[in-house]
């Protein structure tokens, strides 16, 4: 058993435990923090697979941004009790479907011959020449061959950002005035 396989198993265990916490935990906030654990585990998997840029992007985006945004929206959509029943009555059916999906996917992967297809190797990650597929190659290919999809993706992000602001904005004029002028109590405490 090689060293990278051991690292992979440890990271997989972290990821799967985190993911199970996301879907099974009775506490909303803890489920979100378990999401953070699962996504950092995925970042480690990316590192094992020599995708350094993606590992960093994963930590920045999911560890930093997404978890914070989700926590904020949990705070803003909070009802009286956090520990209300979080699950549907369709739980058994959901478990059945999930297990069926796992079995189906696993059977497909095990029986597929993608490892023997032209141009793939199923032996191990070739160590020596992977060093060149780091940041430089990703940047080079992304900005030369994939420049137009990249620009479209940035446009999608811009539209999503504008849409999110427009949707989440309060259209109550009293609220807007309060935000603009600041609440008098807060100003009093400051001085």
């Amino acid at each position: 058993m090689s060293g990278e396989l051991i690292v992979f198993y440890v990271l997989s265990a972290i990821t799967v435990i985190g993911a199970l916490g996301v879907v099974l935990d009775r506490n909303v906030v803890r489920a979100t923090l378990m999401l953070l654990i699962a996504l950092l585990g995925v970042a480690g998997i990316f590192l094992v697979a020599f995708a350094e840029f993606l590992a960093l992007a994963q930590i920045l985006l999911y560890g930093g941004a997404v978890t914070i945004v989700v926590l904020f929206s949990i705070m803003l959509t909070r009802t009286a009790d956090l520990r209300v029943n979080l699950d549907n009555p369709q739980r058994p059916m959901a478990a059945l479907i999930a297990i069926a999906a796992f079995v189906l996917l696993t059977l497909t992967f095990v029986n597929s011959d993608i490892g023997e297809l032209d141009g793939t190797t199923s032996v191990a990650i070739p160590g020596a020449d992977v060093g060149s597929s780091g940041f430089e190659t990703v940047g080079d290919v992304l900005f030369n061959q994939w420049a137009i999809p990249f620009e479209i993706a940035s446009l999608v992000l811009l539209v999503a950002m504008i849409g999110a602001i427009a949707l989440a904005r309060s259209d109550d004029p009293e609220d807007a005035g309060e935000i603009a002028s600041g609440s008098p109590e807060g100003a009093g405490q400051k001085t």
Binding site: V42, Q90, R91, A94, T121, T137, L167, A168
Partner: protein, 106 residues
């Protein structure tokens, strides 16, 4: 025994199934959304595993990583927009639970 493509695929399948369970079983819309994040990450693991193991020159091998970058981009856009919609629904209807959003149910 070395790290092989099948390891990445099984891990991706496992993560995908867990996320699928979360999407189907959770009531809170926010929890459904973070389960969708698990689904997208399962796909990314698959892509990265293939990108690491395909036997090609480096500038072709990174295609998997490039696709994963686009998936992460779309995931970020999706979660921002979807959480804004959930927030809006909560403000208008007072609930963030998917089984109570039945306004358009016939």
């Amino acid at each position: 025994m070395d790290l092989e493509l099948i390891h990445f695929q099984i891990l991706g399948a496992l993560l995908f199934s867990i996320g699928l369970y979360g999407v189907l079983a959770r009531r809170s819309a926010v929890l459904v959304l973070i389960s969708i994040e698990l689904l997208l990450n399962a796909v990314n693991i698959n892509l990265i595993g293939l990108a690491a193991l395909v036997d090609r020159p480096p500038d072709e091998r990174v295609f998997g990583q490039i696709l994963a970058i686009f998936i992460i981009t779309i995931a970020a856009a999706e979660i921002g927009l979807a959480l804004a919609i959930v927030l809006r629904i909560f403000r208008n209807r007072g609930t963030a639970n998917t089984d109570e959003m039945d306004l358009m149910k016939w």
